[in-house]
């Protein structure tokens, strides 16, 4: 039994107990110690000018898409051009700290039923303006109906000091295809906590890519469950971390049925004193024969003081499966650098070319050309700043 510690100011403000390092899943990301600001619910007035400025600065602002805009956690109907319904279902499962915080904050959001086959993405843009430190919580539900295909981008950006939580529940119907792109470009002072819960139906296809770049502290959980045979999920991501940034992703891929394929690919670039963590758990249930699950995480450490930890976990209860994982971390390859320089490319340019190529491998998993190119440009800009 752990001793019951007195609640921290942040816990008092949020009304929850925050997870801490003695909990296995949180050992690298001790929220009780890391969240020091007492974030509570608070009203914030945002001027038209600052909202417009942030919208224009969004990494995918140039991509043709339908848009739904949230400002300080509330739907801005006037700036949105895609119809949606309020999200009402309270998410209780999985039993998870981020979900608990979100529920406690009475997260608001939308439900989108995606039943068409369109190439035009929908971007849900979450803007947080600079005001008193506060907690903002959104909760969305996406239902992709059988045979449908859709692309949704979730973008988070802001200024100032705040806690942003995002819980997203996604159900992908039989034979449907869902492309999800998440852009975490929060304020450098912000904390971003997320949990994404995905269920894949028979023969469903998921392409999920997250770029993690902005927040001081980021924890993203994902629970992906194969509920129908023949489904295929590719979950990838890049971190672009510098200074004191801390980012931790924990994914659980649950192969509950046979004949499903999962791929996880994370490419992490870290500079300064940043800290990156990737925890990937793959569960193969006893009847989930012919499961094909692979996971890899690779970190590029640009400074001596950056640190990357990877924790792959395979829980396999079926005997006819192909599962594997790999993790690497290291510096830029000196031979690569010399080769580029020997062709006349100055060192700084050669370095950024190699770093961009490194994260590019994960970004290349994004199918939509316009989004992919905007992400590559965004990564390049972040890496050269």
């Amino acid at each position: 039994m752990n001793m019951v510690s007195p609640k921290t100011a942040a816990e008092e403000a949020l009304g929850v107990s925050l997870p801490h390092r003695r909990m296995e899943e949180w050992k690298w990301t001790d929220l009780r110690r890391l969240i020091t600001t007492p974030y509570g619910k608070a009203e914030a007035k945002a001027s038209v000018r600052e909202v417009d400025r942030l919208i224009a600065a969004a990494p995918l602002a140039g991509v043709k898409a339908g848009r739904i805009v949230f400002v300080n956690g509330e739907l801005d109907a006037a700036r949105s051009n895609v119809p949606s319904r309020p999200s009402n279902a309270l998410i209780v499962s999985p039993d998870d700290s981020v979900v608990e915080i979100s529920n406690r904050l009475q997260a608001q959001g939308i439900t989108l039923t995606l039943d068409g086959n369109t190439d035009t993405p929908i971007e849900i843009l979450h803007i947080t303006t600079d005001a008193t430190p506060r907690a903002i919580a959104v909760r969305h539900t996406f239902e992709v109906t059988a045979g449908a295909s859709a692309t949704i981008v979730e973008t988070f950006l802001g200024e100032g000091d705040y806690l942003s939580t995002a819980v997203v529940n996604i159900a992908i119907g039989e034979g449907a295809r869902f492309d999800r792109i998440k852009v975490e470009a929060e304020s450098a002072k912000a904390t971003h906590l997320a949990h994404t819960i995905v269920t894949l139906g028979k023969n469903a296809v998921l392409r999920d890519f997250t770029i993690t770049s902005g927040a001081a502290l980021n924890r993203q959980n994902g629970t992906y469950t194969f509920a129908g045979q023949g489904a295929d999920a590719k979950v990838s991501g890049s971190y672009l971390l510098q200074a004191e940034q801390h980012a931790d992703t924990r994914l659980v891929i649950d192969h509950a049925v046979p004949h499903c394929t999962s791929r996880e690919l994370f490419k992490v670039v870290m500079d300064g004193h940043s800290r990156g963590i990737f925890q990937g758990k793959v569960i193969v249930r006893p009847n989930a024969q012919k499961t094909d699950g692979k996971q890899s995480s690779h970190a590029l450490l640009l400074s001596e003081t950056a640190e990357f930890d990877a924790k792959p976990e395979l829980e396999i209860y079926a005997d006819d499966v192909v599962c594997g994982h790999g993790a690497t971390s290291g510096d830029l390859d000196h031979d690569h650098l010399f080769y580029l320089m020997s062709r006349g490319i100055p060192k700084a340019e050669a370095r950024s070319l190699l770093v961009a190529a490194f994260v590019g491998e994960a970004i290349e998993t994004v199918d939509h050309e316009g989004i992919r190119e905007a992400l590559l440009a965004f990564a390049q800009e972040r890496l050269s700043s």
Binding site: Y339, R343, G344, I345, E361
Partner: protein, 251 residues
């Protein structure tokens, strides 16, 4: 164009010298072959000229067009006109060959105070050079050297050379690992670049390459020094007698 005087080189952190007083003078338009047995210092010479880290010059000098080449970073050497065709070209995942060529060419142009080449001019320039080397669009789209066969890598090196138009080409064992047909294609590509303003140093173990790229001068490198210099007939002599004579003298 290139003046190497009494060059002494050792590996960083080691005491044994690899080059022990190498002297070589190359004029514009000339093709020099440097031949020698394994371990004679051939590759070290090529890396020292291109500025690879890990080597320490303990004595001597290298001047290129009147400038101290050893004081320049590798990218500055390239912009000044030095090109090394690697014996083992490096694979660069994630960087498309076409993009790499463009970035390299424009970086060199910028260093020389020229404007970026226009996209259509660049495409024309590369396509023309690639066709001569049997390099198709498919290869140009692939990441640099990734998954290329041995022959493709060597052709890609020569393509880079043709696109970047250096004034001093150093070819380090460009013939290694090539069959006779691939060797011909590569040699044709090299010969097409011969010009009165451009010099070449062809480093090789075997005489075979010199049937296709006919040198003006042949030097024998043994134990870190040039021990004999002659015309192209010296290569044939080496082919007949081997390096044994020189190894004995050097010992």
């Amino acid at each position: 164009m290139l003046e190497i005087k009494n060059l002494h080189v050792k590996l960083d952190g080691e005491s044994r010298e690899i080059l022990k007083g190498l002297t070589l003078s190359v004029k514009p338009g000339e093709v020099h072959a440097i031949m020698g047995p394994n371990g004679s210092g051939k590759s070290t010479l090529s890396y020292v000229l291109s500025g690879r880290e890990g080597y320490e010059v303990t004595d001597g000098s290298v001047t290129f067009k009147g400038e101290d080449l050893l004081a320049m970073e590798p990218d500055k050497r390239a912009a000044a006109g030095v090109f090394l065709a690697f014996q083992y070209p490096i694979e660069i995942p994630g960087v498309a060959t076409m993009q790499f060529l463009k970035v390299a060419l424009n970086a060199q142009r910028k260093a020389r105070g020229q404007k970026d080449i226009s996209a259509p001019d660049f495409m024309r320039h590369v396509k023309e050079k690639a066709a001569r080397l049997n390099i198709g669009q498919d290869m140009l789209k692939r990441p640099v050297n990734v998954g290329f066969s041995g022959g493709e890598k060597k052709r890609a090196e020569i393509l880079q050379m043709a696109v970047l138009e250096p004034t001093l080409c150093v070819l380090d064992e460009t013939d290694s690992g090539l069959d006779i047909d691939a060797l011909r294609v590569v040699a044709d590509g090299v010969n097409a670049l011969r010009s009165p303003d451009r010099a070449m140093i062809v480093i090789t173990h075997y005489q075979r390459l010199l049937d296709y790229i006919v040198p003006d001068k042949v030097h024998v490198l043994s134990d870190g020094k040039i021990v004999k210099t002659g015309g192209k007939e010296l290569a044939l002599e080496l082919e007949a007698n081997g390096y044994a004579d020189f190894a004995v003298k050097a010992a």
